[in-house]
Symmetry: C2
Subunit: 575 residues, 2 copies
């Protein structure tokens, strides 16, 4: 591509309405323009990157044996009524009415349409397993679209849906797709983690999210520094410490702690480390007779409660709810901040202690009396009757649940999600096939999504500097920029530029020849903003010595290379 | 692709709801399925063809220098209000309201969005000309969607929009795009014609449609048998005949023609050829004083009036309207079927004679008296005062308007349309750039559409037989089918199939290996229905002699080829 025939649309200033880096840089680099809240036009530079991502995704899906389909964006309400989601989906589902008064929606996802297809086209177990994918525009009427194409209303997804005769077959394809997703992100060249995830509202049993690691990510990812283990922080298990509680060395002592409303204040006041304190929270529970009750949860002072984990425990009300201050006062006689585990059992309160809190000794807790705490508390001696469970979020340094290494926590941007849906949709839409015995069986389903447009933004969040984007080679809008100095005046420069342009292009390399009548500074700035990995500067001075100037966008300094070696050099740099 | 991993979804019977061949075959070949009126899912075989068409279109657009963008499908009402089309577009524009109560539409076309982009991004004549294209899903809420993807509600278009500082620059890009469109259809391998077209409701000055010739087409295309000339029948000029009217040899005679209500009846009754008769029609006109009047139009008996041509004449009411029977009776004293040109001038009626009728002599016309006609009529002698104009549709055998060859008329399917829009949208949206003198100038626009999904259907309408589709090599879902006989039982067959599959695939050829446990008849039928151009049959009998059986889908008979030569043979056949 010759710059003189191209649309740059680069901006020097950061757009005021863009908060995150990728949004700012995509606007500045002339990749996208908003035409309405959450609706974007992709400009040529954006499309070039987008198509490269799309291509990698398509190729990996094909390699994984998935068959490409294209489903309509506009979907009939009837199918969503059959699955029950017409009522359940909420206002993100943009509903519309056609000229004949029939109800439709703009598809945010395609479980219903594909299941309708499967129930019509798949009749025998012999056709299974089969996996359909599409790369298609979706619409989600976000209440607050933001972060550019990261959370836009119209966006491009690769979604795939697999159909199976058994959970075992589903598991096999799930693993194939897990690998295919890894291949996609490996090929693009992103630092990512497949993390064990919650299945959320889409339903199903087993699921992984694929996160690109970046400081601006919305999710906290816990992963091992020595193994493949990775999970959403909420889902990562905080394992039982190896050590046991040490024997008591102190007496339990009540101390006056005026105005100490937080754990930090208490620890400061008593000159203790926060790790020597526990916090005790009372939450709503249900006893064996199905009656409302109160349960005490005890965590180490520096740990945070994990509501998802607590809710899964038997006898706890879900959604998670704290006991009221009134109930606490009636039961214990103090405010919520002054509770300690000792003596609660005697008041008929069930006690569940977090695994890490359960191995403490000589620790500090509330005294069940306002403005007082106790120190020198020991489980065996002072409060022996309790259950132990995993109640907290993992923190950095925790042992990894798979026994290998320790937990590191980083922020991640979700760019992919794979699910074992099981039979939920197939059951609702009665999608059956005949099994080996000629008996109708409801199929098992997997579903697999990748945010194609979101990957573009996530790649930038992970790869930028103060001058612009640092594209991985695989998805750069152009691989090589030839920056011509004095292109319009120097015949020698023009000739060399044309040679390089023609010969590099002939090798299938995506080259931008900057032949514009602009100052070198403008050309360099655009080149850096656009994140083109390789830059060749062609000027009369160098040509006099038979050299060109080469610079990689992110690695190394300017260097002179011989004209004669330029092609070979570039090919080598790109490898 | 191995057939055992593929979804065929072929049907033996013609679906009852499909009227046209392409719709029937696309359903039968497992290319599409309707999920709601005018909304289709493309199945794997359909997608394979679709992507090949899309790729050719994209490559030719890039070669033509167009830059790819992606505009949103959901468009804000404000832009359509600015252009005035929010009111004008009618119910094909599907309007919708988002969760915040704002108005949007599902884009049937993107003039507004691209013009909004252009007015923001283009500021100087130096950036022009520039041409943007996208390949994108569009929505048109057709009142009666039909013919499968030929006239569906959701469909894929390549639309391009060019911007210019002058009409001359627009003309240049228009010609480049005209050529690019020809390249697309040439590469696909379709019999098509670029035809001069009416600009219709989209506005603008100059336009060509690209039609794929097929008996099932909705439009009549007139083209020359010796040149490139082609036009919609309505737009093709019926040129002035070279011959002049012969001198009169008969007297004008009034004859009684009872019950002859049509030209055919009159000719039969009088034993004349229809070409020796004229028909005279009275239509509404306006005279120089802007007052309503009646105008007589005279055509040869076998010719048909062209309302578009008539409406463009000065003094004729548009839209075209016949005079009422009452007005005719009051003015002439007879019914509409008995009018003749003679004597009308004397009654103050303007007479316009079609070019072909004006060179007739000794002809027959109505006698301006019910149940009577005249024969032996001659212009010079009996009705000398008239104007001559092109009033009729061309017919086969007419001389081509470009002077080369004669007119042939065939039916065509419109698959592309290019327009010179001029300044209509740029003016409405105030899209200006600064010219060389720093003065703001409204840009000139071209727009260029190709129906990507429609091309798939049109290619079938032009290429099928009673067994199924006959794909051109360029867009066939698979280029080669390897049909294995006894695949599961014969080790030799399996080995040879695998060899062929691997080696052909390695050459970048799209191969289907039919390894299913099906009867040969089923495999052959699927192969023919899908229209795979090249078929290799691998069986034990042939292998014993070192041969395979080759058959081209549409050319030639079965032939045995040597195993050793198979690769080279196939490569040669495909070239």
């Amino acid at each position: 591509m010759r710059a003189s025939n191209y649309l740059f649309s680069t901006l020097r200033d950061t757009p005021t309405d863009a908060v995150v880096t990728s949004h700012q840089l995509m606007v500045r680099a002339g990749m996208i323009r908003q035409i309405s809240k959450g609706l974007y036009t992709w400009l040529p530079t954006g499309v070039k990157v987008f198509r490269k991502v799309e291509r990698i995704v398509r190729e990996e899906m094909q390699k994984a044996g998935a068959l490409e389909v294209i489903m309509p964006g506009v979907q009939p309400a009837e199918l969503w009524q059959e699955s029950g989601r017409w009522q359940k989906y909420g206002p993100e589902l943009l509903r519309l009415i056609d000229r004949h008064g029939r109800d439709y929606c703009l598809g945010p996802t395609h479980e219903e349409v594909i299941t309708e297809l499967a129930r019509n086209e798949l009749t025998s177990y012999k056709q299974l397993p089969v996996n359909f994918f599409q790369i298609q525009t979706k619409f989600r009427d976000e209440v607050r679209p933001r972060f550019g194409v990261m959370r836009s209303r119209e966006f491009c997804m690769k979604d795939a849906y697999s159909f199976h005769i058994s959970p075992e077959s589903l598991q096999e394809t799930y693993e194939v797709m897990h690998k295919a997703y890894c291949n996609v992100f490996d090929r693009i060249g992103l630092d990512y983690r497949p993390v064990l995830a919650d299945t959320g509202s889409i339903g199903g049993a087993y699921s992984h999210e694929f996160h690109v690691l970046a400081d601006s990510g919305e999710d906290d990812i816990a992963f091992s520094d020595e193994s493949d283990f990775a999970a959403n922080v909420e889902l990562a298990e905080a394992v039982t410490p190896k050590e046991k509680a040490s024997p008591a060395t102190q007496d339990m002592t009540e101390v006056f702690t005026p105005d100490c409303k937080t754990i930090q204040k208490v620890a400061e006041f008593l000159k203790l480390d926060v790790t020597q304190t526990v916090k005790t929270m009372l939450v709503k529970g249900i006893d064996e007779n199905e009656e409302s009750t109160i349960v005490a949860l005890v965590l180490r002072g520096d740990h945070n409660i994990n509501e998802l984990k607590v809710e899964k425990l038997k006898g706890i009300v879900a959604p998670f709810e704290f006991a009221s201050e009134e109930d606490i006062f009636n039961k214990i006689g103090c405010a919520p901040g002054s509770i300690g585990p000792q003596g609660l059992k005697e008041k008929g309160i069930r006690i569940i202690v977090d695994r890490s809190a359960a191995v403490m000794s000589d620790f500090c807790a509330g005294a069940n009396k306002d403005d007082y705490h106790v120190t020198g508390l020991n489980w065996d001696r002072d409060c022996p009757d309790f259950e132990v469970a995993d109640l907290r979020n993992v923190v950095e340094g925790d042992p990894s649940p798979d026994g290998k290494g320790h937990i590191v926590i980083k922020r991640g941007i979700e760019v992919g999600h794979i699910f074992q849906l099981g039979q939920q949709y197939a059951e609702a839409l009665k999608a059956t096939v005949l099994d080996e015995n000629g008996k109708a069986q409801i199929m098992h389903m997997g579903c697999y999504g990748i945010g194609v447009s979101r990957i573009v933004a996530a790649a930038i969040e992970q790869n930028f500097d103060d001058k612009g984007i640092l594209w991985p080679e695989s998805i750069a809008p152009f691989s090589v920029a030839i920056v011509a100095m004095n292109y319009d005046k120097s015949e020698a420069v023009r000739a060399e530029c044309e040679r390089l342009y023609t010969e590099l292009s002939a090798k299938g390399i995506d080259v931008l020849l900057d032949d514009r009548k602009e100052r070198p500074g403008v050309k360099f700035a655009d080149c850096e903003l656009l994140g083109i990995p390789h830059r060749l500067v062609v000027g009369d001075k160098g040509l006099a010595n038979g050299t060109l100037e080469y610079k990689h966008r992110s690695k190394g300094e300017n260097q002179d290379i011989a004209q004669a070696d330029a092609l070979e050099f570039i090919v080598k740099q790109r490898a």
